[in-house]
Symmetry: C2
Subunit: 427 residues, 2 copies
């Protein structure tokens, strides 16, 4: 049945599979994606390294993957819930697509306290990365977006996939239709808004992944004012808010006016060690309106009902236990553990004479290696210390000269990494 | 801070929220969606009915929601997995976006047996509805699609959202760019392919939701041949394959040539009672190529890595237990239970003198009420018997004159429904 039709094979050699082609054109937007998604690319490099050095123990400070056990009060709740699924009384089929109302109420109470966020504005998700793509489906291909540079790759990649981004320009390392808001030490990791072009949507992550910078109240007031003036929608990613130790706001809704301009996405991944369990949420305020007066929340509800079917009810039972007084206390003790890791690694990199950012309000360090290319630094650290980091340029051209170091890890691993790194001389 | 800007309020009155509009235009594709998604609409009607008849017990034979407890061998595995998340040895963070390899292998072994499906071609998901939208993201707005008429609404609605569908035409009840392949008793629930226009993609669900018809081997051979001739991609939804009792194929890959033209999406929801736990999978064969020779699987992998982060690891642990010999046996005994429900309800509707389809190979009955409008039948059954069904026209114009009846339910509920229905006279 297999016909060899060489006329259709106009792709790079490594991608070719000989066989009969369909007549379905590949989606141009997919073609425009650059190379591979960052984290699978790093995993591939790790595999190569392990093959080269089979006897060395690789330490992973790359992907921000939680490592510490989930407190028992939380797993017991999930375990009880799953066991009850075998009983007539405890069995649950489809839940509400928007999430269990008890959990939505608990999210409001725990994370928004006195702020005017309503339980009906909270949509429980299977994680913020998934909701970023659902938001892109809602927004469609005709909106313009801005991102912090550097930023978490999912904003740009989902924008390319939905068709907002235009072509990639090799000279600049940027997509032509995306506004890159440079954030670095020179501007206190906050964009110069007086020089920033208006876009429909502004993706803004604080505490930022990868820089670890939490925007101050004054900075966020500027951001909300900028969105109000421009009629823009902020998509505010607060996945790391629980790591904030100073007085920086933990939610965009602490800023007056934000309910008319901002969506907030967040996650249990890094607070509760739920990276594999999968649970997050998104807040869409009733007051957020499209230009024709139509509430954004109605379209998001439709997307959630059509393109999603709710987070796993087991994960939701776990989320509810996280927000009990005992669960919240246990959860935050794990956060504190990772923060101590951050202190250890920050001191280590500083002892090498490097400028280290982040770590105080986020589980990431952002290490400056002036004059060096970040993939070179990644390779050199891997080769000399068998430690995986993330090259800053993977987060956008503004990440060049930096590496991101996650502070998730067992303490003994972090201490071992510290020992290995202290002998490092970057060239 | 609230400004009233009446100029932006050009939407229907019930949608209006007074406040300051952003300057972001609502996505035209979202505007084109008809009314509400079918199932939330039915839930709203149920709520109204309960208000009207607070003392009557409503029986839900509407949404296909599983009701029977999950066998203990499966929930014990999930419970053990969650408890282990509290130990250093058992803790798991991010898993592979494509799913746990052990589960992917078990899916191949259990569902594909001797067929040449590879574990690397299986992508574990949080359910087939979610993967339908991810496939639409992959395909993009420039492909044309065909659907069975009637069909599960997610195919059309996700097509509208991504921008393939064009305008809705009130006269026909159809979107202008979608090819509706009528399937009814007159053509043995299989489209007349000699009269069917070529499209890039053909969504095909077998056993079908809502008609309950499982396509025969001969029908599927015709479908694959049609796709081969047209260079089309079939998206084959086999979520109900476990309900097949006759010799109909349980996978499209039983048909020679299918690996070059078909993606298969499937689900644990209706086999294992995982509607709330959330677990499914999608198979993308290596041989499926776009017109330029680029393998579809590479783009799907990219979508899964960028727009998804893997199914909950707890759900995956449950899925693995489902596929153990003991789990599979227990799972299928629940399927048999629902099949007996189908027998009871099929006899009930037949006793009213109505033609009843489905039920043999699917957990749905498709009941023909000639000359009646399906929403009228829905309302009349609800009013007279307090039983929720689904109006056939909710699945497309080809569903007019039919209602869909789910056979998920506790036996006593099904028997009570049968008693109530037997006294029904439809007018």
């Amino acid at each position: 049945m297999i016909l060899i039709d060489s006329s259709c094979l106009d792709v790079q050699m490594e991608e070719i599979v000989t066989g009969r082609c369909t007549k379905v054109a590949r989606n141009l937007h997919m073609e425009r994606l650059r190379n591979h998604y960052l984290f699978p690319e790093i995993s591939a490099r790790e595999l190569e390294h392990i093959k080269k050095y089979p006897n060395e123990k690789v330490i992973r400070l790359g992907i921000g993957n939680t490592t510490e056990p989930i407190p028992e009060v939380i797993t017991l709740a999930m375990s009880d819930f799953t066991r009850a699924l075998s009983t007539p009384e405890g069995y649950r089929g489809y839940g509400a697509e928007q999430g269990n109302m008890e959990l939505r109420k608990a999210i409001v109470k725990t994370f928004y306290g006195d702020l005017p966020v309503k339980d009906t504005e909270v949509f429980v998700s299977d994680g913020s990365q998934c909701d970023i793509s659902r938001l892109q489906l809602l927004l469609g291909s005709n909106v313009t977006i801005a991102v912090q540079d550097p930023s978490f790759p999912a904003y740009i990649d989902s924008s390319v996939i939905i068709g907002q981004a235009g072509s990639f320009e090799d000279e600049t390392g940027k997509y032509q239709n995306i506004v890159y808001m440079k954030c670095g030490p020179q501007n206190h990791f906050f964009p110069d808004l007086s020089n920033t072009l208006r876009t429909d949507v502004i993706f803004f992550c604080s505490p930022n992944n990868p820089t670890g910078h939490a925007a101050s109240r004054e900075q966020l007031e500027q951001l909300v004012e900028f969105a109000e003036e421009n009629g823009s929608i902020i998509v505010y990613d607060s996945a790391y808010a629980a790591y904030i130790t100073d007085e920086s706001p933990q939610s965009i809704y602490e800023i007056p006016g934000a309910r008319e301009v901002a969506i907030e996405i967040s996650s249990f991944s890094k607070i509760a060690g739920f990276t594999g369990v999968r649970l997050g949420w998104t807040v869409v305020p009733d007051e957020l309106l499209f230009s024709n007066g139509f509430p954004v929340i109605h379209d998001f509800d439709r997307i959630v009902c059509t393109c999603f079917n709710g987070a796993s009810n087991v994960a939701q039972a776990g989320g509810l236990a996280c927000l009990s007084p005992e669960g919240a206390k246990a959860m935050l003790s794990v956060v504190d553990y990772y923060k101590e890791n951050a202190n250890i690694l920050a001191e280590t990199f500083a002892s090498l004479g490097l400028n280290v950012y982040g770590g105080v309000n986020a589980p990431y360090l952002w290490v400056h290696c002036p004059g060096l290319r970040s993939w070179d630094v990644f390779n050199e650290i891997l080769e000399k210390t068998h430690i995986i980091t993330v090259p800053g340029s993977g987060f956008g051209p503004g990440g060049e000269e930096f590496i991101r170091v996650t502070t998730f890890g067992h303490r003994e691993t972090i201490l071992e990494a510290s020992t290995r790194l202290k002998s490092l001389v970057l060239v």
